[in-house]
């Protein structure tokens, strides 16, 4: 026989869903996508390396010293070895060497899968929060005084729809960990709920 969920049960499910959502948002990228990025970067380096070394070797023909061939002048205290390595090793070989390190990390969802999973969890979370709010209102109607969660979704509390187009910035206290992933844009990770993302549009 199914028992009706208690408010505590509902809140436990909300907390668990938030944890799952965070786990998906923080999961490593799909290995294939990382490998694709490495392959593309090695090709760009190889092309750049071929141009640089080709130019230097060409200058030898006009009297430049051959022992200067691999001497580089740092730009902003940096020497980028990528182009030289990719040209000399071949981009395929360099990419294969670098890709070995990906094996140490778990495989994760693709960017599209991550977006879809997080979007579904945001929807589920919103439904759970609306059910929690309805439960609180039922209890209040019987005369009980119920404390709401500080991080309850304002849309659920105020009776607003999930898909409302919003412009506001998110409430930082509600999900501080999600907001602290600055590499999101580069990796394609979904680091914010659609609630948060909508509010930032």
């Amino acid at each position: 026989m199914n028992k009706a969920p208690t408010l505590t049960t509902r809140r436990d499910r909300i907390a668990a869903t938030k944890t799952q959502r965070q786990a998906v948002a923080d999961a490593p990228r799909a290995r294939a996508e990382s490998r694709s990025d490495i392959d593309a970067q090695c090709l760009r380096w190889a092309q750049e390396g071929a141009e640089r070394i080709g130019h230097k070797v060409g200058m030898v023909a006009f009297g430049s010293r051959i022992d200067d061939l691999f001497r580089v002048r740092p730009v902003n205290d940096l020497v980028d070895l990528g182009p030289v390595l990719a040209h000399l090793l071949t981009p395929e070989r360099l990419a294969a060497i670098l890709a070995q390190h990906l094996e140490r990390h778990a495989d994760g969802p693709t960017a599209a899968e991550r977006v879809a999973q997080v979007a579904q969890m945001d929807r589920d979370l919103f439904d759970l929060e609306c059910a929690e709010e309805a439960h609180i209102e039922q209890l209040e109607a019987t005369g009980l005084s119920i404390s709401r969660r500080a991080d309850a979704d304002p849309r659920a509390v105020l009776g607003l729809p999930f898909d409302r187009v919003t412009t506001a910035a998110p409430a930082e206290a509600s999900d501080p960990t999600i907001r602290s992933t600055p590499h999101v844009a580069q990796t394609g990770r979904v680091a914010q709920s659609s609630y948060v993302a909508n509010r930032r549009e």
Binding site: R148, D151, A152, L158, G159, A169, A171, R199
Partner: protein
């Protein structure tokens, strides 16, 4: 949007803050009275020629009630004043517990109302 509900939440918050202010003021008054009484008891005791064995100012006042009344009187101590001070201390503790409980209720409600207000304001609802 449920404006009536939002108004009610804000009203609840103001009501709880008002209750907290009221209890805090009561606690402050009790604390002041207790401090005055403690000073009085201490002052009388220190001015007396006799001292109680095993008790000194700053120790638990309830321990005083274990001494014979005659001994307390010899030390210029009044049983009624001691009992009143003990009652005030208990009341102060009770008020502090109510303050803690109210604060624990107010903090999440204030945060929620603040989040809702920000949402409403930033979305021009």
């Amino acid at each position: 949007m449920n404006h009536a509900k939002f108004r009610r939440l804000k009203g609840d918050l103001e009501q709880q803050r008002g209750a907290l202010r009221s209890v805090s003021e009561h606690r402050r008054d009790v604390s002041d009275e207790l401090a005055r009484l403690n000073i009085s008891i201490r002052s009388l005791y220190e001015s007396s020629p006799y001292k109680l064995d095993g008790w000194q100012p700053g120790d638990d006042l309830t321990e005083l009630l274990k001494f014979p009344t005659a001994d307390l009187r010899a030390c210029y101590l009044d049983v009624a004043a001691i009992k009143h001070a003990i009652e005030l201390q208990a009341l102060k503790n009770d008020l502090q517990a109510r303050i803690d409980a109210l604060s624990a209720q107010i903090t999440p409600l204030a945060e929620l109302v603040d989040n809702c207000q920000r949402y409403v304001t930033e979305n021009a609802l």
